[in-house]
Amino acid sequence: MSMFHLLGRNILNNIQGVGQATIMLAQALIGKPQPRKMLPLLIRQLYVVGVQSMLIIIISGLFIGMVLGLQGYTILVDFGAEQALGPMVALSLLRELGPVVTALLFAGRAGSALTAEIGLMRATEQLSSLEMMAVDPLRRVIAPRFWAGVISMPLLALMFNAVGIYGGFMVGVEWLGVDDGAFWSVMQSSVHWQDDVMNGVIKSLVFAVVVTWIALFKGYTATPTSPGISAATTQTVVYSSLAVLGLDFVLTAIMFG
C-alpha cells in the first residue's frame, strides 16, 4: 500500500472516530432527564472523578505556586520590582497554569482511570449485559461520568489556583521577605474578575469537556483485551494532553490575543 493510501486511510479513520465520538456523546446526553436515577450516579462519579483527584491537584498546585514564587522573585528583584510578585504568580496561575496543569493532571489521574474502568466493563461484558437488560449503557455509564468530569475540573482548577497562590505567598513573603501588604494589594488591583478569573474558568470548562470526552470514548471503544485497554489508556493521556495544549493556544489567542 502506498504512502498516500496509508495517509488517506488514517485521515478517514480519524474523521470517522470524531464522528463516532460525537454520536456517542449525543446519545449519552440527549434524552428524557431522569433525575431520580441520575443524581445518585452523578454524586458517586463526582466523588470518584473529582474528590479523589483533589490530593494530587492540591499538592501539585502548592509546588507550582512555590516554584513560581521563587523564580518570579529571582527575576523581579533584579529590577527592584519584587512587589509585582503577587500579580505575577496569580496571573500565571489563573490564566494559564491553573487550567492547563489541572487538565493534564486530570487526564493522567481521572481520565486514564475512566478509560480503564469502561474498557474493563466492555471486556467483562458488563456493557453488553446492560444492553440486554434494556438499560442504555450510554445513559447509565457514560453520561454521569461526563457530567462529573465537566463539573469537577473547573472546581479543581480553582483549588489549584488558590493553593498555588498560597504557595507563591509562602515562598515570596514568608521566606524571601516580599512585603505582605504589597503582595496582596498589587495582586488585587492587577487581577480582573472577568478577564482573568472567568477566562481561566472557561478554559478549564473547555478542557474538561475535551479530556472527559476523549477518556470516555477511548474506554467505550477499547478492544476488550489487556493490550487493548492498555493502548486505550495510553491514547487517552496522549490525545488529551495534546488537545489541551493545542486548545490552550487557540483559547489564549481568542481571550488575550
Binding site: 449485559s129 437488560m133 434494556a134
Partner: protein
Amino acid sequence: MGNLVEIKDVYFNRGERSIYEGVSLVIPRGKITGVLGPSGSGKTTLLRLIGAQLKAHRGEVLFGGQDMAKLGRSALYETRKRMSMLFQSGALFSEMSVFENVAFPLREHTKLPENIIQTIVKMKLESVGLRGAGGMAPSELSGGMARRAALARSIVLDPEMIMYDEPFAGQDPISMGMLVKLIDELNATLGLTSIVVSHDVKEVMSISDHLIVMANKKIVGEGTPQELRENGSELVQQFLTGAPDGPVPFHYQAKPYHADLLGAKP
C-alpha cells in the same frame, strides 16, 4: 406453541470474514434449544443477533414475529425486557453486591416498593441456592456461584426467553451439575424458552429438546438429541464424539510438509 425466534436466510460478516452464509433456523417456544458447534462457528454471534446487539447484513431475525433489526431504539429496549442473556463471564456489576446485582433490573424497570423488591430478590436468590450470598461482592464468588447469581439476575424480570452463552465453560463437575439442573428446572417451572450455546455436548444433549449444530457458516445438523445421534453427517458425528480428525482437520491448512522441511521459503 409455535416458534419464538425465527432466523431466515441470514448472512453475517465480521470485517472480511464471513460468519454466516444463508443460515435459517427456528427456536421453538417453551423448549430448551441447544446450539453446538466448533469454536468460531458463530454460536455466540447467533445470540447477539437475536438480541440485536449485532445486525445481520442480509436476512431476517424475528423475535415473537418482530424483525429485531427494524425496531427503533425504544421499541428494541422494550423487546429486550422480554428476553435475557447469561453471559459467559456472568457480567455481574463489580461495584454492587450480589443482592444489588439481582435487584438492579427491578430498580431500573419497575417502581416496586423496596419491601417487594427485597422479597423478589430473596426468592430469586433462593431459587439458585445463593440466598445466603446476597451480601457478598462478585469478586468473592467462585465461577459457578457468579454464574448462578447472574442467572438469578436474568430471571428477576420473568423474561420469556433466556439465552445462555457457554454456561458450563470452565466449571467443575459439581457446578456444572448445578447449572444443568437449574437451566432444566427453571425452563420447566417458569415456562421459559431457553437457548443454550455450549461446547459441552453431553450436558447440552441431556437437557435439550431441540439441537442445532453449526459449522462452516451453516447449520449442519438439527433435530432432537436422538435424531442428531442418528444423523449421517460426518461433521456432526465428529463433533458429537469429539474425534480429533475428520471433516474438521487436525492439521491447519499449510503447504506440503516435505517442501516445508526441505527449506522452501515460507
